[in-house]
Structures are given as structure tokens and as C-alpha cells.
Amino acid sequence: MPREMVTIQVGQCGNQIGCRFWELALREHLSSPEKSRMATSTSSQEYDDAMSSFFANDPPDEDHLYEGWKKTMIGQLRARAILVDMEESVVDRLQRMPQIGNLFNNQMRLTDVSGSGNNWAHGFMEYGSKYQEQFLDRVRLSVEECSSIQSFFMMHSLGGGTGSGFGSKILESLEDSFPKITRFACSVFPNDDDDVITSPYNALLSANKLIEHADCVFPVDNQALIDICNHIDSHKKKSQRSTGFRSSSRMRRQDQQSVTGPDQQSSGDTYHKMNGIAANMLLDLTASVRFEGTLNMDLSELPMNVVPYQRMHFLSCGLAPLFPPQQTLDISRNPGSQRALADMDKSFGSAHSSPVNQLMRSPVPAKSSTYLASAILTRGEGIRVADLERNVKKLQSQVNMVYWNTEGFKVSMCSRPPVNMPYSILSVSNNCCFRHTLSAMHTKFNRLYKAKAYVQHYEDYGMSRTDFDEACNNVLGVVSEYATLEGKTHPPANPKRRLKPVGLNFVPEY
């Protein structure tokens, strides 16, 4: 049985991403190749190992005997998730959703009625102390159901009050109560044109807590997601125009499969698509844990490989291909085709460093900045170890790596491709250019803080000025840590003294 992950979705944004995530996760697990032969309804399917990392199962009364092996069939599936929001509407809507609604029950839900009013302090201080124990009880309940829990995955946004404030509290209390379980956070960073006036405060205060208490943070940016959606739309239009009128309806159906997931609602619903991209990133990230592959990667290997220093754990993600390649360019169907191979090689490059494919915009192009470490996670049988090796070597020569980590690529291969895609490549990289995002955040924070605007709303909930100053210094500390590593692509001229033999004995000299 693979290791389990417990997902914690906090606030409106976190729950909306979560909603999309569960929809796609369910689709991925129910549409596996060997299962497609059987009926597609949940009732007659087997509950397999891969499924158990996301879903708990209450099996039906009778155990089915199948091919001599006792298999557990799917009874009532439950998501390993905890839904937290300080208002009810989003969680209510989620629980009423047709397909995924009954994945959740009231035991996993923690809600209040009044909301956090876009105030970090309200979420962190007041709700934090009020609901901490209730929250931990719910976590313990779901952890007890796991045979070997591996990680917590939190989805939240940094701009509002609940996701940022209560989310910070959650990370803190999880570290206290479960120090050995890895904590991942998928954090939506606020836009430049954010409509929440206090979002600079909220973002910086939660960034401070993310630095302290998370193991890895996957930053996601709304604008970047919108850009990806537009890119996919323009591709669709182009392919519709290029194909003749008669075949266009077939083409359209095929093209609607992209990283945004299937469009059930009207195509104008951009948020729906954007959340789909974030959800797909999470699925690709965890694929190697759930499914078999020739080079498995455990999620706990990710921080081990791409976080060289404890506080610098902000990992930008890139996805490619964004939509399935044409049939002739599909490497799994034409393994010998040179054009298909070239197309795949291109996907490696764009997942790693093309700005369009990144889930987080960067003020400075990532390619011109120094990489600390990267990971390439592939899905699909079309990609072989030799392809991986060739492309990683190419990437190593193209980007600036920090001098002590010139080969800094972690790779993993999972055999199972994503639904409706022949293969996918997810690149996760730790780049020095993230400091620009943090310092931009600080600039916006300072603009308000210089005038001490809105500070009294935070002080009402028991925060002091020193809390603001500390958070500010902490974030600036990480910015300067990143800055010192920027550009260190060559070893220093006079390296440190080495251990040298003294006769046949070796004594450390420093």
C-alpha cells in the first residue's frame, strides 16, 4: 500500500482548488487502463493500492472474490481531506457537488459563519486559538485511518484572511503535533491588482510563517494561470482554424482535453480552468508515489533533493505539454519517429524554463537567474531513461546552476500517464529569482506599513508592531540569503583547505 497524503484545504481559494483537485483525482483513479474495460460506475470497481493514498474506503458488506485473489471493492469512498473555512458557503457548495460531494462528511469539516474579514490576525490569533484543538482532532482522526501517513498537503491563498491567517496557524500546529510528517503547501500568491486592500499585510505575514513552518512551498500565481489558459485557448482557436470545417467538431472535442481538465461548465469560467491547472500539478507531483514506475520518487525525496538550505524552500513548477500533441507527434504511438522525439525534447525544455509553462510568474526571467536545484518528474511510458538522461544533460548545459550543484537534477519516472495525455513532464525548481517575488511583496507591504495604515485592525486581535517587524525581517533575511547565492556559478578562486594526509594518518585540519 502506498503512503497516504492528507489534504487540508483552507479558505475560499483553497477549497475551490481542492474541489477541482478531487474531481480530477477521482477521474484519474477511476479511468485507469485496466479498469476502463469494466463498468465506469464506482460501485463495481476494485479499491487498489494506488487509490488508498488519497481515498479511504468503507468496503461494501460482501467481499468479492476475483481471479482467486481477494480484492476489496469500492464501497463508499472518502477523501483524506479536511475542509476548513471560516464561512460556510464554499464548503456547503462543495459538499453538494454531484460527483464528489459524498467524498466528504461533516467529520472532516471545520467552519464558522462569520469569515475572517481579510484580516490575517483575525484568522491567526482569534480563530487560531479558538479552533486549534478542534482542527487537530480532525487531523488525528484522518491520520489514524492511514497505515503510514507521509505528508500533509495544504492548499490556501495568501491574500485573504482565512487561508493566510488560519493556514499559518495550521502549519504551526502541525509542526508541533506531527514533526516527522512532511508539510507541503500550495500557496496562491496575490496578484498585482488584488482587490483586497490588506492583502500586502496578509501575504507577508503568511510568507513569514511559510518560511518557518513548511517543508516545501509551491507558489502559484493567478496571473500565470490566466496566461496558461489564454495560451491553451489561442492554440485551440488556431487548430480549429487550420482544420477544415467538417472535422472541426471532432477536433474540438479532442482539444478540450488539456491540463485544465475537462470543461463541464461554460468555457468562460476561467477560475474553473485555473484551478484545474493547479490541481493537475498536484496530481503529477504525487503520481510517482501512487503508481508504479522504473524510477520511483517518494514525496519525502523532494525536500531532500531540492531544498539545500532549510529556509529556502520555495519551488516554482512548470508543466508541459499543456495540451496533447497531435497523433503524429505522440511518442508513445510512434516510438521511432524523430519528429515525435523532437517534440518531446521541446516539452522538457519548456517545462523547465519557458515562462508560459510556469505556474508562477517571475519578475526576472528564471533562465537568467541561478538555479539551486531542479527536479524533473515524468509520467507516461513513452519517456525512457535514455531520453531523460539526454534532456537533463542538455538542460544542465543551458541554465546557470550554482557551482556546488552543477548536476543538480533529481529525476523520477512514473509509468502511468495522466488522463487523456500521452505523457507529461513536471519540472520543480528552486531558483534564486524567487527573491524578487518576496521583495516585491515586501515593497508593497512597506508602502502601507510606512503610514501604519490599517495596522490597528491587526492590533485589535492582539498583534503588536514587533510582530510586523519580525515578519518583515524574516522575509528580508530569506531574500538576502537567495541574493548571496545569485551568480555563484563558478567555484571561488581559492577553495577552502582540504583534509590532507599526514603520513598515513588523517586529521581534519579545520
Binding site: S148, Q150, L295, D298, S300, P308, Y309, N405, E407, G408
Partner: protein, 455 residues
């Protein structure tokens, strides 16, 4: 009666390579047509409860290999046990000899060594002891692991120490897979150093196989454009299997009446360790084989012992593991060759398989200049007239030589760079490996390199 070897396969790489090795050995032994099924060395004998008349001659019963599989995640072991039950007609793994846990080592050497080593060490050792008790005559251990990951390297090193503590009179041979230079795991340099340093303290011999070499062999010699891991494992298994199958000792020195002619030895491994690892400071072994030819081209290729041995010798001297693009400029007698110094060996263990192996001229390998001046009887030759894996002739040399200096130095340099900046150190410290411990590993490797350089 033949002596037996218990193999321990640790981590994803160790399990996959070990399975490939056992399949090769089993396949070869069946080809040789031994009637009693698979030999005692690597496989348990079937004990028939009913009288012998029930077993029909020629029907092969599935036996269990004498091996213990250890991994910290279940997927690899599950699929290995499953596929050995279905596909391999010769043996199945005993599920009771498998040890899998859920959590994974996360590429962290310290977690494998400290956390899982102390948590599960006793349980795993129990399984090993059970396996040892099943042997009529137990000789030693073969531990297969990779150096890059967390389970094979960390837990593997700890298990090797525990084995040495418990079985002091048996030999302990480690087979380690050296990671790609371009890297599959970012912290592989740390992991490699820590593992080698610990193994060197407890093991009798460490055979090192480089992934890079295997890949190049597949690409250039076997014409596989995009090799898979399976292909790499097969190449590695082929080399190792040629050393492990039975052979007969041949005397090198015509006046030496003591050695040679002792009949066919079933288990070469004990001999190999005894012969090559006689000095506690020199334990790094490398393995080179020739010829590497595609299976389908074998029928059209003609081999001669003189050419094969000439290739092999040159591979040994220039320390290349690939039998092409050799630097023929390096010669032993031309003492004046500038900058190109040949690679010296502590000792060599030469295995020849195929027609006319006993008549092959191996005197070039006995050249005094290959060895340090103080080495006595540095060469041992084993021969077998049976062909190996459809190769008419196949030669392998395991040598305790300076060849391992270059890769070790590379890894050391990269690890120094990282260590100077204290990158990734906090992951290790969190699991109980202190800064001093890491320094000790660095010093230990420097020590090994310096000693090999002094040959």
C-alpha cells in the same frame, strides 16, 4: 558439497539488479544441464517430503534463491515477487525472505542508516539468519545496493556492519552501483561518500559498477539506442554472473605444484575474496569483461583467446570498462610514456569461459610491472570449458586496482564543494549525522585514495 552464499538485495536498484543476476545464473545452470536443478550456491535445495519416485527426472521444480530482499517501500518488492512467480520458470522469491516497509528513505543516507538501521536491523538480521541456517555449508554474504539512494546506501551500509558483527568468520562482499555522473539524485555525492567510507570499515571487498559504463556499453556495443534500466541491469548481471559460476583453478606458474588442478570449484566467490582482498587498506574492486557483443551477432563473430585477452589487458591498464576506444599508447614496457601512467593492480582474478580456456596464454597478466613490487602471487586464473551465455569465449577480470581512484576523486571534489557551503547538511543533521561524522567520511575516502595512489 558446495558452499553457499546468501545474497542481500537492498533498495530498488539492488533488488532489480540482484533479480537480473539470479535469472542469469539460473538460466546458465539450466543450460549446462545439471540434473539436480539449480546449484546449492545461490539457491535452496528442494527437500522432497514424499519419496524420490514422485519427482520425475527432468522436471524442474521452482526453488527459492538464498536471498533476502529489503526495501523501505513496498512497490518494487511486490512487483519483483509477482513477476518472479509468473515469468521466471526457474525460481521464485520466498515472500518470507522479503522485508518491506511503507515509509521510504527519501534519499537520505542518515535516515536509512540511523533511523531504519536501528529500527529494523534486528528484524532483517533474523531473516538473514533463517536463510543462513538453511545452508549446509555457509561461506559468506553478497550484498547488492546502489550508492545514490537512501535505502540501498544508508540501510545497506548499516546492515553490512551488523552482518560483520554477527558473522565474523564469513566473508562479506558488497556490490555497489555507482550513480550517473550527471546525477539521478542530487545528494548522491554525499550518499556515495558516506556509504563507501562505512563499507570500507566493515566489508571485505567492494565491487563497484558504474551506471555510466553500463549505459555506454548498451549504447555503443550492444546497439541499443535508448536503453532501459532493464538493459543496464542485464549487462551488469552478465559480468557478475561470469565470476560466480563454477570454474577450475589453473596454475599460472608452471613450477607451482600446490595450486591448480583441484577440480571444479562451485563457488568462486570465497576464493575471490580470499585472493583479492588480502590487505585491509585495499578493498575497491572493479570488474571488466570482454567481449561485449550483441546476442544476434554472436553467431557471425569469431573469437580468439589472444585477441580477447589483449583487449582485456589493455582495458585493465588504461582502466576503461569499455572494450573500444582504448588508448593503446599506454604500454607497460615504455617507461618513458609521458603523462600516461598505466593503472596498477593489487591483484587480479581472471575468469575464462569457453572452448580452449585452459590453453589460453595468460602470461601477459602475470607481468610483474602490473603489480606493486611487494605483491606475491598477484594473479589467479580460473577456467571453465563451458561457454557462457552463448558466447563462445568470454573473459572477465576482477581487479583490485587504481581504477577506482578517478571516480572517487570526482565524487569527493563535488561533495567538498557542497560541504563547504553547508548545502543539504541540515537534512543529515536532522537524522543524527553530525558535522564531524561527515568530516570523518571525507577523511576516510582521502585515505583510501592516497593509499591506492601509493601503489
Amino acid at each position: 558439497m558446495t558452499s553457499s552464499v546468501v545474497s542481500l538485495q537492498v533498495g530498488q536498484c539492488g533488488i532489480q539488479l540482484g533479480t537480473s543476476l539470479l535469472e542469469t545464473i539460473a538460466g546458465e545452470e539450466m543450460n549446462l544441464g545439471s540434473e539436480g536443478g539449480l546449484s546449492d550456491t545461490f539457491f535452496r535445495q528442494q527437500r522432497l517430503v514424499a519419496s524420490d519416485s514422485y519427482s520425475i527426472k527432468g522436471v524442474i521444480q521452482k526453488t527459492h534463491p538464498r536471498s533476502v530482499l529489503v526495501d523501505m517501500e513496498p512497490k518494487v518488492i511486490a512487483s519483483t515477487v509477482r513477476s518472479s512467480g509468473n515469468e521466471s520458470p526457474l525460481f521464485t522469491f520466498d515472500p518470507r525472505s522479503c522485508f518491506a516497509k511503507q515509509s521510504g528513505s527519501g534519499n537520505n543516507w542518515a535516515r536509512g542508516y540511523f533511523e531504519y538501521g536501528s529500527q529494523y536491523g534486528d528484524d532483517i538480521l533474523d531473516k538473514v539468519r533463517r536463510e543462513v541456517e538453511k545452508c549446509d555449508m555457509f561461506r559468506g554474504f553478497l550484498v547488492m545496493q546502489s550508492l545514490a539512494g537512501g535505502t540501498g546506501s544508508g540501510l545497506g551500509a548499516r546492515l553490512a556492519q551488523l552482518l560483520k558483527d554477527d558473522f565474523q568468520s564469513s566473508f562479506l562482499l558488497n556490490h555497489c552501483v555507482w550513480p550517473y555522473e550527471s546525477g539521478e539524485v542530487i545528494v548522491q555525492n554525499y550518499n556515495t561518500l558516506l556509504t563507501l567510507s562505512h563499507l570500507h570499515d566493515c566489508s571485505d571487498g567492494i565491487i563497484v559498477t558504474e551506471n555510466e559504463t553500463l549505459l555506454q556499453t548498451c549504447k555503443r556495443r550492444l546497439d541499443i539506442a535508448r536503453p532501459t534500466f532493464d538493459d543496464l541491469n542485464k549487462v551488469a548481471a552478465k559480468g557478475l554472473a561470469s565470476v560466480l559460476l563454477p570454474a577450475e583453478r589453473q596454475s599460472v606458474d608452471p613450477y607451482d605444484f600446490g595450486g591448480g588442478g583441484g577440480g571444479v570449484e562451485q563457488n568462486l566467490l570465497g576464493d575471490l575474496v580470499e585472493h583479492l582482498c588480502s590487505h585491509p587498506a585495499f578493498k575497491m574492486l572493479t570488474l571488466k569483461s570482454a567481449p561485449q557483443v550483441q546476442t544476434k551477432a554472436l553467431d557471425f563473430t569469431e573469437f580468439k583467446w589472444t585477441t580477447i585477452l589483449k583487449w582485456l589487458r589493455q582495458m585493465l591498464i588504461v582502466s576503461s570498462s569499455l572494450d573500444e576506444t582504448l588508448d593503446w599508447g599506454v604500454k607497460i614496457d615504455s617507461g618513458s610514456s609521458i603523462n600516461r601512467v598505466h593503472c596498477k593492480s593489487m591483484g587480479n582474478f581472471l575468469v575464462l569461459r569457453g572452448r580452449g580456456a585452459f590453453d589460453a596464454d595468460v602470461t601477459t597478466f602475470a607481468d610483474k610491472a602490473l603489480y606493486p613490487s611487494w605483491a606475491s602471487d598477484p594473479l589467479r586464473v580460473m577456467c571453465s570449458k563451458e561457454s557462457f551465455l552463448k558466447h563462445e569465449m568470454f573473459a572477465t577480470v576482477v581487479s583490485n586496482s587504481q581504477a577506482s581512484i578517478v571516480p572517487m576523486r570526482k565524487v569527493l571534489d563535488k561533495a567538498y564543494n557542497m560541504f563547504d557551503e553547508k548545502a543539504y547538511v541540515h537534512h543529515y543533521e536532522r537524522c543524527g549525522l553530525s558535522h564531524k561524522d561527515m568530516e570523518y567520511a571525507f577523511a576516510n575516502i582521502e585515505d583510501i585514495i592516497a593509499k591506492y595512489e601509493s601503489l
